[in-house]
Every structure is written in structure tokens, then in C-alpha cells.
Symmetry: C2
Subunit: 214 residues, 2 copies
DNA sequence: AGTTTGACATACGCTCCGTATGTCATTATT
DNA sequence: AATAATGACATACGGAGCGTATGTCAAACT
């Protein structure tokens, strides 16, 4: 039985390192994660890490890139199966909030990432989720659903809002109740983007997710 | 010539440590700031630091509390001199964005703080700015200007939006242009909170800051 | 005056990171 | 096919930084 080809072994090593780091970063945080420890847990040493990723930051970048790609894929699925563009956009935002509730994403991508690598808007992965959101907003603008606004600008403030909503929910004593309040407030903000008259009347009671404008 | 009373000397020492740490954290970041270095720059040693603040995190907390207090004071001034509650709220948000552009605030409070101390919503200083914003929103709701929404929820998503707007602006190649786009998008979101009909008609051209509803 | 308290400095050990070097298998060369 | 060269890792070493344990000295107390 032949050994696996070289390329595969290398890819496997990289994958093992990324997986081990992802677990360590996600559970104890970047600063507390010992390189000796988590490389050992992958059956390797720091030698491999420095060889493949240059340094600890480089590995964090790789981990974030991986998570970011997964997030993007999930978001695409969500927005693709909506009936209208607006509904897809709203659904995508909601999904974004839900993803930001996951501890791994919150810790690695949303907290340690910016602290270690600087502002996400400068990342090479360019926060793919923002791009996706921008594209949707661009279409909504062309379609005439939302007012004239810079798509990227809107995408950034919206993602900021959803991100904080998620963090608030995640750290809340009663995530269920908090989630309802946060999502409602968030949806109100989103409606600020809609053109005059497209906004539907809202009952005072906790409303269902708004149906998209025809 | 008498030496200063004991209490004053101690307070002075604490202040010197906080000031030195604030400068170090703000310029090179929390992780890169050497305790030996910045305590020495204050004419002290780590002994004083551990005595007064327990550890490096404790000092970061003190620094953030100080900055937070300053931010709150500035925001109160801004909102106090507005003609209407809504205008005050909008002004306060704008001021929040502008403050978030300051490197020291951005780095210490918005990036390193959450990474080291966890989610700001759990901080003892409780993010005083959020509280202030919540109070304003509560009044706006009582007044009937905005729709029924949980004030804290709205405050959190709004601060998240403004924060990301600020980071985007701060790291932009052309802060002037980016600022215009970001603030416009942000103001649109804010209008989502207004009651039906209170929303003013918006021209397509980059609008001035909206005048408050009567 | 003697005792106690507490504000700070000094000293020590430990962990962790980055680099420099070594080793062995795979690939390229002739 | 034999040798050279590359590259994927492991090992070894040095340095920095942090936390703690201990020491010192002045101020407050009795």
C-alpha cells in the first residue's frame, strides 16, 4: 500500500494545524492559546506552524479565512432561497445575527480577529459577507426597493448593527427574550432603507418578520 | 515645605499609572505594551501596578473606565444643547461616530477592550454611553416620536452601526468621502425608528443632516 | 517609642514566542 | 542510478514578559 502523494500530506498537515488552532482559539482565545499545546494536539510542533504560516498571526488569518468562507457559503444559501430580493436581504441579515451567536465565530472572527489583525475592513478575505451584502443592496437599489444609498456603506452599518445585536444576545441572561427585542429593533433599522411608502404598518405587538414589499 | 498628604500621593501614583498605560495601550496596543516599559516611563515599577490594579487586565479596566467617563461627558454635552430630543439623539450618535474615529478610543475601548475583557455589555462601566443613549430613546418613545421598541435594544444596534461606520471611515483611503457615505447610510437606519409619517422626504442628492420632526 | 499597616521595589521562576539549526524524505539533475 | 538540491518538518536555544514571593521603608496608630 503506497503512501499518499506529497501534496496531500502537506495539505493534510496544514488542515490539521488550522483545525487545532481553530479549536484552541475558539475555546480559550487567541492570547491564551499556547502554540506548543495545540500543535502538539495535532501531533506536530511549532516547527510546522512557522514553516507553513510564518507566525501565530498568520495561522489566525488562515483560521479566519476558513471560517469566513463557511459563513459566506451559508449566507448565500439563505439569500438564494428567498422569494424576493428584500426578503433575501432580511433573511441574510438574520442569518448573520444567528451565526454571530456561535461562540467560535464571535470569539475568533469578531473579537480576537480585529484586536490582533486590525480592522476587518482591511482584511484580505475582505469580509466576504460584507461583499455579499453589498451586492444584494446594489440590486435592491437598482430594483427601486431601497433609497439611493451607497451599498457598501449600508452593508457596513447594517453588519455592525447585527453584530452588536448578536453579541448582546449571546451574553444575555435570557437569550430568547433578548433575541426578540434585538431582532425587532434591528428590523426597524433595516426599514429605514426602504423607500417611502414601501414601509408596512407595524403592529405594536412583537411582529412577525415583515413580508417583503410586492 | 510639607510633603503632600498620603492620600494625594497615592492618587497621584494611580493617575500616573493609568496615564502611562493609556498612552502605551493607545499607541502600541494592549498586547504589545510592556508593563516594565510603561511603568518605568511613569517613574515606577510593576510592583506599584500589581499593588493597585491586581494585574494588567485590571489596569486596562481602569483605563477604559476613565475613557468611558470622558466619552459620556462629551456625549451629554452634545445631546443637551439640541433643540429637540430627536435632534439630540441624532447629534449624539454623530458625536459617537466622531469619537470612535479617535485612535485611542478605537484601539483601547473598541478593539483591545472587548478582546481582553470580553463583551462590553458585561463591563462594570456598563458602557455608560449605551445607557445614555437608551435613556434618550426611552424619552423619545414616551414623547411619541419613535415607535414602540425596547430602548436598550435600539441603543445597542445603533451603537453597533455607528461603531462600524467609524471604523470603516477611520481605515478608509479617503475619510472625507467615506464619512459622507457612511453618515448618510447611518442616518437612514436611524429613520427606521421614526413613526410612520414623521419621516421627512429625502432628496436623492447627499442630504444635509435631517431636521428634527416638529 | 514601638507596632502595625500599606505602598511600593526587587528578585526569582516560569511560560511562551521567534529563530537558528538539524534531519530526513522527496524531487530534480546528469 | 547516484548524487545534489529542495522542502517539510523537529529540536535547540535565547530572550522577553508576566505573576508571585519577598523585602524595605515611611506613615498612621496606640
Amino acid at each position: 500500500m503506497g503512501h499518499k502523494p506529497r501534496k496531500e500530506m502537506i495539505a493534510e498537515t496544514r488542515a490539521k494545524l488550522v483545525a487545532a488552532a481553530r479549536h484552541a482559539f475558539g475555546s480559550v482565545g487567541y492570547a491564551e492559546a499556547s502554540m506548543d499545546d495545540f500543535t502538539a494536539s495535532a501531533g506536530l510542533t511549532r516547527g510546522a506552524l512557522y514553516h507553513h504560516f510564518g507566525d501565530k498571526k498568520g495561522l489566525l488569518q488562515a483560521v479566519i479565512a476558513e471560517i469566513d468562507a463557511e459563513m459566506l457559503a451559508r449566507l448565500k444559501i439563505v439569500s438564494a432561497r428567498a422569494d424576493t430580493l428584500w426578503q433575501g436581504f432580511v433573511d441574510e441579515c438574520t442569518a448573520y445575527i444567528e451565526m454571530a451567536l456561535e461562540p467560535e465565530i464571535q470569539r475568533i472572527v469578531l473579537r480576537d480577529g480585529p484586536a490582533v489583525l486590525g480592522d476587518p475592513s482591511q482584511w484580505p478575505s475582505q469580509n466576504e459577507c460584507i461583499r455579499s451584502m453589498s451586492e444584494n443592496l446594489q440590486k435592491l437599489r437598482d430594483e427601486g426597493t431601497i433609497v439611493a444609498v451607497d451599498p457598501e456603506a449600508a452593508a457596513r452599518v447594517v453588519s455592525g448593527a447585527s453584530l452588536h445585536a448578536a453579541q448582546w444576545i449571546a451574553n444575555s441572561d435570557d437569550p430568547e427574550a433578548t433575541s426578540k427585542k434585538a431582532v425587532k429593533a434591528f428590523n426597524l433599522l433595516l426599514e429605514g432603507l426602504l423607500k417611502q411608502g414601501r414601509r408596512i404598518g407595524r403592529p405594536q405587538a412583537p411582529a412577525e418578520m415583515d413580508k417583503s414589499p410586492a
